[in-house]
């Protein structure tokens, strides 16, 4: 169903939105001047778990400029309901998955450091913060559990004692008996036990929300940077106990989301409720410390994986047991990340006929964990790609050769993997070969010798990944053709810096044969357009395909109107390059002239597309590291990648997406670690001084290549999701390289982030003391 096209390709590197961003004219929620807005400051728990029996707000209420002070009990008394989370999960006992009820402010027990317990609304943000310090909460500290392994151990402290277990949700896939048999008869079994480190998403724009309430209409407006306007609206409405139509969510520009700005956060519902309670618009903006404490975090999985191989090095079966730290409450799609999204690609690019998965979503007294760039797939690919390297080393088989023997061949497509997912297209072996060539894989020995000569250790690692993208597979687009020469596309997906305005404008402009500069893209206003937002790398292939269909529908709608205007039969009307023309004549009317003749000086095209086939981007990333054995410092020296993201509409945007993902992946592999004190549950890495984000000088120049021979079969653009691939592939590529560099010391695995000290311990342990 792929159509040959060049949508947007001709536009080169500059993006439609770049000038606005680069000249400081982005419209972010914090920039909004909302007349009469009051400011909220939130009192957050300093304890990992504590009863909040008595809260004395008298002093805060009496402070200068204070409009109101509210606690969780006030919200509950007013009928506010807990924030929803997706149904459909069950616990180990088979009963529906449970989470402690999460109200916008917790009314009884604070369950993590940073859990909101009270809010002050005041005339200024400063007054609100000053008064928030006067709120006296009588905390009764309770035992807390932080680490997921401890949470599953015997006699573990229970994050929510009423539940009797820390396991909130359990999910199993595959035939355990057949997998056990395969392992029993295997010639070799490789095993790995690893932790996928907890990360703080840290978009440059912190979360902000502004709530308004209109007494006359009884409607709420919440302005905030969210990737999923409709879902966020629905959740706010659910928490307020009103119909979704009584809430309007408006999104401006977003300074990065990375999955963290999806769905519902407590403050989103809180500002709406406060706006009504105070009779004023109410604004809340996180500072960076609050972001560290109160944003949803990412990853944090304990994974045990085993791979059974036959004598020829063929993979027979894979067994994965994982425990995912969900934090103190199930975030909206919290358990989806480890139990449903990631597991789809647990077998990676390999033909592994038998698969068994047991996953547990575990409650602890930490910030809730939810989606972060890749959301489950980075964890799954990290496990399989580390495991394949372990197997290769144990068997003495070259890691490239072992992968080659087991990659799903092109001839097997469409291929149903061991998990039960179907990959439509792909030529994994060709991608692997191209990546090795791009990396100058064969030139490694000379580079290693050169490193040796300067006293450095050099290692190389590769990672082959397959990624699932799509999520919600339906999207709608409305294309408005206006008499003043503009075309407006309304889409329920959401630009958050990934260049969608450029890509969509290119698609619609090409469908209509007009200049892309005429196309405006409108997103993120639930009164104007609904949709599933931008998650799971779905926007271009689902939303972009809808835009294309909407553009085509506009031509059809225009054809009927043009027939009327030109007094001809619709079948005789041809359309090209902005003009409707009676075939074989010179009688024609321009697209915009036609719109100007309509009663509202516009006409609409609209389309809803629904796909059944996710897109399966795949690729191979190759990393070389150089290690200073005396200090243990690891430097990423070379990094190259070949990614099959299907047809690239805009190569510059694709490269930008891959760059960003790799940077975050290298950050996860070498620098970023969110750590809580194991006993007190205090966040130890609450600032950028202790939470090391990668900077430009931590990264080499990336050599990126694209493989476009296997366009996606499931959408007319032939494109596959690209937003997350770098973050999926980079961690195993980097860690495989580090472990390779340290092979002579007999190291099998190092957990991320691989710090200089960890490397140094390996090296220092392997040589005589000085």
């Amino acid at each position: 169903m792929t159509e040959p096209t060049r949508y947007g390709r001709a536009q080169g590197g500059a993006r439609k939105e770049d000038e606005r961003f680069l000249t400081g004219r982005g419209r972010y929620a914090d920039d909004l001047a909302v007349p009469g807005a009051a400011h909220a400051a939130i009192v957050r728990s300093p304890h990992a778990r504590a009863r909040t029996a008595a809260i004395d707000v008298a002093a805060a209420r009496a402070a200068p400029g204070v409009i109101g002070v509210f606690t969780g009990a006030d919200l509950v008394a007013a009928g506010v309901k807990p924030l929803p989370f997706v149904p459909g999960f069950v616990g180990e006992d088979g009963r529906p998955a449970r989470s402690p009820a999460r109200y916008p402010l917790t009314p009884d027990v604070a369950r993590f450091v940073g859990d909101p317990v009270a809010v002050v609304v005041a005339e200024t943000a400063e007054a609100a913060r000053d008064a928030a310090e006067l709120v006296a909460v009588d905390y009764e500290p309770l035992d807390a559990v932080v680490d997921v392994r401890r949470a599953l151990g015997p006699a573990a402290v229970l994050a929510e004692p009423d539940f009797g277990t820390n396991v909130a949700a359990f999910h199993a896939i595959g035939d355990a008996v057949r997998v056990d048999e395969a392992f029993a008869s295997a010639a070799h079994v490789a095993r790995i036990d690893l932790v996928n480190n907890r990360l703080v998403p840290n978009p440059i724009e912190p979360r902000v929300c502004v709530g308004e309430y209109d007494t006359a209409s009884g409607r709420y407006v919440v302005r905030l940077p969210t990737q999923t306007a409709q879902s966020t609206r629905n959740s706010i409405a659910a928490s307020l106990g009103v119909a979704p139509e009584r809430v309007r969510v408006i999104v401006g520009d977003i300074g990065g989301g990375f999955g963290m700005k999806t769905f519902i956060h407590p403050e989103d519902a809180l500002v709406a409720w406060l706006a009504k309670a105070c009779g004023r618009p109410v604004k809340w903006r996180a500072d960076r410390s609050e972001s560290f404490l109160g944003d949803t975090h990412g990853r944090d999985q304990w994974v045990q994986a085993e791979l059974a191989l036959d004598r020829a090095g063929r993979f027979l079966a894979l067994r994965v047991r994982l425990a995912a730290n969900m934090g103190a409450y199930l975030a909206f799609i919290g358990p989806v990340v480890p139990l449903r999204a990631g597991v789809r690609v647990s077998t990676g690019g390999y033909d592994i006929p038998l698969f068994r998965f047991e996953g547990r979503a575990v409650l602890t007294n930490t910030a809730p964990v939810c989606a972060y760039r890749g959301a489950g797939r980075p964890e799954a690919i990290y496990a399989i790609e580390r495991l394949v390297d372990v197997a290769a080393r144990e068997l003495g088989i070259d890691p490239v050769e072992l992968r080659r023997r087991n990659l799903v061949p092109r001839s097997a497509m469409p291929y149903r993997n061991g998990v039960g997912e179907t990959y439509d297209v792909g030529d994994f072996a060709a991608v692997l070969d191209r990546a090795l060539a791009a990396a100058d894989w064969s030139g490694f020995d000379a580079r290693r010798a050169a490193s040796r000569a300067t006293g450095r250790l050099r290692g190389r690692g590769l990672a082959f990944y397959v990624e699932w993208t799509g999520g919600e597979m339906t999207e709608r687009a409305v294309v408005e053709v206006h008499g003043d020469g503009r075309v407006v596309l309304l889409s329920g997906t959401q630009n958050m810096g990934q260049g969608l305005e450029t890509s969509y404008a290119g698609i619609v402009a090409e469908a209509l044969g007009i200049d892309p500069a005429r196309v405006e893209v409108v997103q993120g206003d639930t009164d104007r357009v609904l949709g599933s937002g931008s998650v799971a790398s779905r926007s271009l292939f689902v939303g972009g395909s809808a835009a294309l269909a909407g553009g085509k529908d506009a031509i059809e709608k225009g054809r009927a109107l043009a027939a009327d205007a030109l007094e001809a039969a619709p079948r005789d009307i041809e359309y090209a390059a902005g003009r409707f023309c009676i075939a074989g004549t010179d009688r024609a009317i321009g697209l915009f002239d036609l719109a100007a003749r309509q009663p509202e000086r516009r006409f609409l095209g609209e389309a809803t597309v629904t796909f059944t086939m996710p897109s399966w981007p795949n690729g191979c990333h190759v990393c070389e590291v150089e290690i200073d054995p005396e200090t243990g410092e690891v430097r990423v020296d070379r990094y190259s990648a070949v990614d099959d993201v299907g047809r690239r509409l805009n190569p510059a945007i694709v490269a930008g997406q891959v760059h960003g993902g790799i940077a975050q992946g290298i950050g996860q592999a070498l620098l970023e670690a969110c750590r809580y004190d194991a006993d007190s549950g205090q966040l130890l890495t609450g600032t950028f001084q202790d939470y090391a984000l990668p900077r430009a000088d931590d990264l080499p120049a990336f050599a990126l290549g694209a493989f476009e021979d296997e366009p996606a079969s499931g959408n007319p653009l032939g494109t596959k999701g690209v937003g997350e691939v770098g973050a999926v592939a980079a961690p195993p590529a980097v860690v495989n390289a580090v472990v390779d560099a340290l092979a002579e010391f007999g190291v099998k695995h190092l957990d991320m982030p691989v710090r200089a000290e960890d490397v140094w311990r390996i090296v220092a342990g392997g040589r005589a003391p000085r």
């Binding site: 005396e630 620098l671 140094w760």
Partner: protein
């Protein structure tokens, strides 16, 4: 009360009258007060431009108390200051370097202060003024502990004085600075090392200063190592003279950034590298002065 005097005398008079929190670049002042109002009375010294700049005063160099890290990095200084200039380029990020002052870095007295090791290895002194009086204190005696200094409440640090090195004919001096952290900058260091060496025309070490930071509450001079190096020829073999015993006085801590044992070992390695780097430059006949 917020005072911003135009002259040092006015500032000293104000300090004599009441306790004041001294504010220069503000890069430590503000982070220490995030989320709460400034309740202290403040003496903003940023108008005291007479305290800004680096001057050769013969027997010593004067680094005025308002000299920023960027000033140091950009200044045309002899190789003696190379280590301090390396430190200046790795303090925080560029904005911090533009605002933060070297003297403020010392007065803030963080165990991980980037300025302490290179200045200690230069044998620097801190000039303290009070109304009508002035004194100088060796840097090793000035920083007393974590966030504690010898500055009296009525005193203002007015300059850092670095003694002249290589005053005898044919002698030359040079310094180096190395830092280890999770990233190269904008993080709190795991360990820092500074070394200053003076050599005679015959290549013998005639004077030296070696200091380690972030491995004890106050950056420390490695006096035993300095003694060991005196009289040695500056060759590639010099690095091997540094031994674990020379770092015995360090008291590194275990924390989320690194374990004590790693800090100690890394510090030794950095000492050796700093010495090796200086030896290599000497061997290469670089410009010593």
């Amino acid at each position: 009360m917020y005072l911003r005097p135009a002259t040092v005398d006015e500032a000293l008079a104000a300090l004599a009258a009441r306790p004041l929190a001294v504010l220069a670049g503000g890069t430590d002042f503000y982070p220490a007060r995030v989320g709460r109002p400034v309740v202290e009375d403040v003496l903003d010294v940023s108008r005291l431009t007479e305290l800004r700049g680096i001057r050769d005063e013969g027997s010593h160099w004067r680094i005025g108390a308002l000299t920023t890290w960027s000033d140091v990095a950009r200044a045309d200084l002899p190789p003696l200051f190379r280590g301090l200039q390396q430190a200046a380029r790795e303090v925080g990020g560029r904005q911090i370097q533009n605002a933060g002052t070297v003297a403020g870095n010392l007065c803030n007295a963080s165990p991980a202060a980037d300025g302490a090791p290179p200045l200690m290895a230069l044998g620097a002194q801190v000039e303290l003024a009070r109304f009508g009086a002035r004194r100088t204190v060796p840097l090793s005696d000035f920083i007393l502990g974590n966030r504690r200094t010898a500055r009296g409440a009525d005193e203002l640090a007015t300059a850092i004085l670095v003694p002249a090195w290589a005053r005898q004919a044919g002698h030359s001096a040079r310094s180096a600075f190395l830092k280890l952290g999770a990233r190269r900058y904008l993080v709190i260091s795991i360990a820092m090392v500074a070394a200053t060496l003076e050599v005679s025309p015959t290549g013998k070490i005639t004077r030296c200063g070696i200091a380690v930071g972030a491995c004890s509450p106050v950056a420390k001079r490695l006096t035993a190592l300095e003694k060991r190096l005196l009289g040695e020829r500056l060759t590639a073999g010099i690095a091997a003279l540094a031994a674990p015993a020379h770092l015995a006085e360090l008291a590194p801590i275990d924390d989320v950034r690194a374990a004590a044992q790693y800090r100690r070992e890394a510090a030794l390695e950095l000492v050796r590298r700093a010495l090796a780097a200086l030896a290599a430059e000497a061997g290469a006949g670089r410009d010593w002065s």
